[in-house]
C-alpha cells in the first residue's frame, strides 16, 4: 500500500511537470524579438507582438503595489506593535476573509466601485482590483515576520530611550526586512498572473493605452483572448505570452524564497 502512495506522488508530480514542460517547448518555439517590441498585428495578419500588454501589465502591477503594499505593510505594523487583542482579531479576520475571496469576486467588487460609477473601464480600476488582492497577503506575512523579531530587541531599544516609532523604524523593521521583502514579492507574483479581475476592469486594448483612465491590455488577458481566438498565429503568441508570464512569476518566487533562506536576519525560534 505504501508503494501506492509513491505512485500517487509520482503521478501528480510528473503530470504537473509534463504539462509545464510542454509549455516551455511550445512557448520557447514561438517566442521572438517581435513579441516584446511590436504591437499586435491586425486580425488575419501574421506577426506582431504583445509589447502593449507587457507594458500594460507593468502599469497595472505598479498601481497595485502602490495601493496594496502600504496598506498591508503599515497595517501589519499596527497589528504587530500597537494593537490590542480585539482590534487585531478583527483586522486579521478581515484580511483572511479577503484572502479567501475568489479573484473573480474581487473583480466584481472593483467593477462596482471603480467602473460602474464612472461608466468607463480603466487602468486604475484594474490596478485597484489587483491592489486589493495584494493587501491580505502582504499584511499577514509581514505581521508574522514582525512578530518573529525577539522582544529583547524591542526592550533594548526602549531601554536606550528610543520612542516607540523610532524603535519600530530603526530596529524592528530593519531586523525583519528580508521577510517583509519576501512577503511583498510573493504578493506581487500572486497578482501578476491574475486574469479574472482584469477582464471587466482594465478590459483590454489592441493598441497602446493612452492614459491611466483608459482601458489597457495586460499579459494574462491577452493570453486568454488569443488562446480562444480561431487564428493559428495568435495561438502561437498565446504560448509565448504564457511562457513569459510563467517565467516572470517563477523567477520572482524563487528569488523571494532565496532572500528568505539566505538567513533570516533574526532567528525565528
Amino acid at each position: 500500500m505504501l508503494t501506492m502512495t509513491g505512485v500517487c506522488a509520482a503521478v501528480s508530480v510528473s503530470a504537473l511537470f509534463l504539462i509545464l514542460g510542454y509549455l516551455v517547448v511550445r512557448g520557447g518555439a514561438s517566442i521572438n524579438w517581435d513579441f516584446f517590441t511590436k504591437l499586435p498585428a491586425p486580425v488575419g495578419e501574421v506577426g506582431g507582438g504583445m509589447a502593449n500588454a507587457i507594458v500594460g501589465s507593468g502599469k497595472l502591477l505598479l498601481l497595485a503595489t502602490l495601493f496594496g503594499v502600504p496598506i498591508g505593510f503599515l497595517g501589519a505594523i499596527y497589528l504587530a506593535e500597537f494593537s490590542g487583542h480585539r482590534t487585531a482579531f478583527i483586522v486579521r479576520y478581515s484580511a483572511d476573509l479577503l484572502n479567501g475571496v475568489p479573484s473573480i469576486v474581487i473583480g466584481v467588487f472593483a467593477y462596482s466601485v471603480a467602473v460602474l460609477p464612472f461608466k468607463k473601464f480603466s487602468t486604475l480600476a484594474g490596478g485597484f482590483a489587483l491592489g486589493v488582492m495584494m493587501i491580505p497577503i502582504t499584511l499577514r506575512s509581514t505581521e508574522d515576520f514582525l512578530c518573529a523579531v525577539p522582544n529583547s530587541l524591542r526592550e533594548g531599544a526602549m531601554a536606550l530611550g528610543a520612542s516607540k516609532w523610532k524603535m519600530i523604524a530603526t530596529v524592528i523593521v530593519p531586523a525583519a526586512y528580508r521577510g517583509i521583502l519576501t512577503a511583498i514579492l510573493l504578493a506581487f507574483a500572486r497578482v501578476a498572473g491574475e486574469t479574472a479581475p482584469l477582464i471587466f476592469t482594465a478590459l483590454g486594448n489592441s493598441f497602446w493605452s493612452p492614459g491611466w483612465t483608459q482601458p489597457t491590455a495586460s499579459l494574462p488577458v491577452t493570453i486568454y483572448n488569443y488562446a480562444l481566438s480561431p487564428y493559428e498565429d495568435w495561438h502561437r503568441q498565446a504560448w509565448a505570452g504564457g511562457l513569459v508570464l510563467l517565467g516572470l512569476i517563477l523567477v520572482i518566487n524563487i528569488v523571494a524564497r532565496g532572500i528568505l533562506s539566505r538567513g533570516i536576519s533574526v532567528s525565528r525560534s
Binding site: 500517487c8 501528480s12 499596527y78 473573480i104 473583480g107 516607540k164 479574472a196
Partner: protein
C-alpha cells in the same frame, strides 16, 4: 495573541504625542482599519449592486435555469449546477491523488526528497490559472476528445454520466483541469498536517507490532484527518471560485445535463464572459448577484477549512516540522 511590543501605557498621552508615538499609532491604525473597511465595502457593494435582481427574482433566481439576456429573465441554476459538478469531479480526482502523494512525502520519502518536491509543488501552486487554461485548451481538450471520452463511453457507456456526444469541452474536462490545479494545494497542506502528528503516536503503533503502513493508515492519518479535511475544503473553495481555466474548457453553455461530456457553464465563468458586455442594468445586477453567491459559498467553506486545520494543528501542537 498579545501585542508583541511592551505597552507604553505608563507614560502620559501628552508625552507619547510629543515622541510621535501617538501619531504613529493613529497613522498605522488608519491603514489597518482600511483593511476592515474594504472588506465591509466589498460585502456591501455586492449586496447593494444586486438589489434589482434580488427584488425581481427573489429565490426563483436559484430555481430557474433560464438565462436569457434578451427577455431579461435570469436564473442561476445552470451555473450553480455547473460549478458544483466541476468542483465534484475535480475533488474526486485530486483528493485521492493529493492525499496519497502527501502521505508519501510525509511518511515515506526521505526528508531531502520530500523538501525538494515540496519546493516544486509550492512553485506549481503559484502558476497562474490562465496558464492552466491555455494548457487545458490545447492539450487536455484534444486528449479528451480523441482518447479519454471515447474510451470512457465504450467502457462505462451504460451510465448516464458517460453518454451523449463528446466534443472535448465540458464538465469532465473542466473538472480534470481543476484537479490538476488544486492537487498542489492538497499536497502542501496535507503534508504539513501529517508532519505535525506527534512522533510518539507513530512509535507507539510500531511498538505494538504494526507495520509501517498500518501505523500510517490506522494511526497517523486518522490523527490528522480533520486537517486533511481542511485541505480538501480549501481545494473545494478554490475550485468553486476558479474562473479562467474553467471558462476556457467548460464549453460555456448554460444547460443542465446529466452527461459529463456535455458543455456547461459555471458561476465564475459566466461573470468573466458577460460582465464587461452586460446589455442591461438587470443583466449586470444578476451577474453581481452571482458574485455574491460565490462569495458566500467560499466564505463558508474557507471558514470551515480554517477551523479544521487549526483544530488538528493544536492537537499535535509543538511538533510541526517547519
Amino acid at each position: 495573541m498579545p501585542s508583541a511590543g511592551p505597552r507604553a501605557g505608563s507614560r502620559s498621552f501628552l508625552s507619547r504625542l510629543r515622541d510621535g508615538d501617538e501619531i504613529a499609532r493613529l497613522a498605522t491604525l488608519i491603514f489597518a482599519a482600511s483593511v476592515v473597511l474594504l472588506t465591509i465595502l466589498l460585502v456591501f457593494e455586492l449586496w447593494q449592486q444586486s438589489v434589482l435582481a434580488r427584488h425581481k427574482f427573489g429565490f426563483e433566481f436559484f430555481g430557474s435555469s433560464t438565462w436569457d439576456p434578451i427577455a431579461e429573465h435570469f436564473g442561476a441554476l445552470a451555473f450553480i449546477y455547473g460549478t458544483i459538478v466541476t468542483a465534484t469531479v475535480a475533488l474526486l480526482i485530486a483528493v485521492p491523488l493529493g492525499i496519497g502523494a502527501a502521505i508519501f512525502l510525509a511518511e515515506l520519502a526521505p526528508a531531502r526528497l520530500s523538501d525538494t518536491l515540496e519546493f516544486f509543488i509550492d512553485l506549481l501552486a503559484a502558476v497562474p490559472s490562465v496558464i492552466y487554461g491555455l494548457l487545458g485548451v490545447f492539450i487536455v481538450v484534444p486528449l479528451m476528445r480523441r482518447y479519454v471520452d471515447p474510451s470512457l463511453k465504450s467502457i462505462l457507456g451504460f451510465v448516464p454520466l458517460f453518454q451523449g456526444p463528446a466534443y472535448g469541452l465540458g464538465f469532465l474536462t473542466a473538472g480534470i483541469v481543476l484537479a490538476i490545479m488544486v492537487i498542489p494545494y492538497i499536497i502542501s497542506v496535507s503534508r504539513e498536517v501529517l508532519l505535525s502528528v506527534p512522533r510518539d503516536q507513530r512509535e507507539a503503533a510500531l511498538a505494538l507490532g504494526a507495520t509501517h503502513w498500518e501505523s500510517t493508515w490506522k494511526v497517523v492519518v486518522p490523527f490528522a484527518r480533520t486537517g486533511i479535511l481542511g485541505s480538501v475544503f480549501l481545494a473545494l473553495a478554490r475550485s468553486l471560485g476558479e474562473t479562467m481555466a474553467v471558462a476556457m474548457v467548460i464549453g460555456n453553455n448554460p444547460k443542465i445535463s446529466a452527461s459529463l461530456f456535455s458543455a456547461g457553464y459555471s458561476i465564475a465563468a459566466v461573470i468573466a464572459n458577460e460582465l464587461a458586455e452586460a446589455t442591461s442594468e438587470l443583466h449586470t445586477q444578476s451577474l453581481i448577484e452571482l458574485g455574491l453567491v460565490l462569495f458566500l459559498l467560499t466564505f463558508v467553506l474557507n471558514g470551515l477549512a480554517r477551523i479544521l486545520i487549526v483544530v488538528t494543528s493544536q492537537r499535535g501542537a509543538g511538533s510541526v516540522r517547519a
